[in-house]
């Protein structure tokens, strides 16, 4: 598994480097014992790849035989200090592109393997996500299935006051015990209005376990909040 990856990384090195050192690098990899050693060699090859493309433009091509005697000519400066070297703009661009590509590849790899044990920070992200209230996790842009609303709700602070929401022939009805049944028509999202009203007076929220848990009613300038009664 790691050998093809290492071979790929070595193969992506500049041609001059690859031609001279690739077989030896593969030989060293083949001598590595253990997965940990192999992993460190893969990492080393990755760093080397970035270094060769970003910082070693002078080594991208092999010197021609005609250049070699010139390099060794007496009195000429045949070597230079690496500390005074400034990479060219093209080299920096290559390096930046390569780094960006590597970053995106690694990021995508992490995204597609989330939940595995390799990424210690992913459980934290998932935990943070689960802290959001369920109602925020699911917002209905269009009218939800009416069965999600169906059930008995208890008005907050008034344990005896209940509201029944029923579905009959694909129509939602709201009724108080002993009161009349009011037909509701869809308004927007999970909001409804009674037939005669022009404003959305009744809204369902906090969707959890396949049912809305919260019912809000605005009636006669008053607001009532009711929670689903679990039987």
């Amino acid at each position: 598994m790691l050998r093809p990856l290492f071979q790929l990384l070595v193969g992506l090195h500049p041609r001059a480097f690859r031609r001279r050192f690739a077989p030896e690098m593969m030989s060293i990899f083949d001598h590595a014992s253990g997965k940990r050693a192999a992993l460190s060699l893969v990492l080393d090859a990755f760093i080397s790849l970035i270094r060769q493309w970003a910082l070693r433009p002078g080594f991208w091509r092999e010197p021609s035989p005609a250049e070699q005697p010139q390099m060794a000519s007496a009195g000429a400066r045949s070597f230079y200090i690496s500390e005074s070297y400034r990479p060219s703009g093209v080299a920096l661009l290559h390096g930046a592109t390569l780094s960006l590509a590597a970053f995106l590849t690694i990021t995508l790899a992490f995204i597609h393997t989330r939940g595995s044990q390799v990424q210690p920070w992913l459980p934290k992200i998932e935990a943070e996500m689960s802290e959001n209230p369920p109602s925020e996790q699911k917002a209905f842009q269009s009218t939800p299935p009416l069965e999600f609303c169906q059930g008995r709700y208890v008005v907050d602070g008034q344990n005896s006051a209940t509201v029944d929401v029923t579905v009959e022939e694909n129509q939602l009805f709201l009724s108080y015990p002993g009161g009349t049944k009011t037909a509701l028509s869809p308004c927007s999202g999970s909001s409804f209005k009674n037939g005669s009203s022009s404003s959305c007076q009744i809204s369902f929220s906090e969707f959890d376990r396949g049912r809305f848990q919260q019912l809000d009613i605005d009636q006669g300038g008053r607001h009532f909040a009711a929670r689903r009664l679990h039987e």
């Binding site: 480097f17 001279r20 050192f21 077989p23 030896e24 690098m25 593969m26 030989s27 060293i28 990899f29 001598h31 460190s40 060699l41 990492l43 080393d44 090859a45 760093i47 080397s48 790849l49 270094r51 060769q52 070693r56 002078g58 080594f59 010197p63 390099m71 060794a72 400066r77 045949s78 070597f79 230079y80 200090i81 690496s82």
Partner: protein, 117 residues
């Protein structure tokens, strides 16, 4: 110390260790890594990427010669490297520089610290 030597020192730790490893024998890449690990008692571990990057530099500067493959080696992919006379003089210059630094540091460390009144 010659002018050229002044221009090439200080050497990076990796390059210094590679030249030092090659000072004794002609070695292939894997053997250079092992020799450096032995010399530093495992403190300095060189990966192949760093090794060949520095070897490439050393070959271009003619400090190290690439001897190619050696017949009879158990792995035909290995190439052997040898320290050239130029490489030897660069290594000697670096060793002299380090000696001077160590001497200077020892002298400074002998100076007693000023006492508080």
């Amino acid at each position: 110390m010659r002018d050229n030597d002044k221009q090439t020192t200080p050497l990076s730790p990796a390059l210094f260790h590679i030249l030092m490893a090659l000072a004794g024998h002609d070695l292939h890449g894997y053997a250079i890594m092992q020799e450096i690990s032995r010399q530093t008692e495992g403190e300095y571990v060189l990966g192949p990427g760093t090794l060949y990057d520095n070897l490439q530099k050393a070959i271009r500067r003619r400090w190290v010669a690439d001897l190619g493959h050696r017949a009879g080696d158990d792995d035909p992919r290995r190439r052997y490297y040898r320290l050239t006379s130029l490489g030897t003089s660069v290594l000697s210059a670096e060793v002299s520089r380090l000696e001077n630094m160590v001497r200077d540091a020892k002298v400074r460390l002998r100076i007693p610290k000023p006492r508080r009144a």
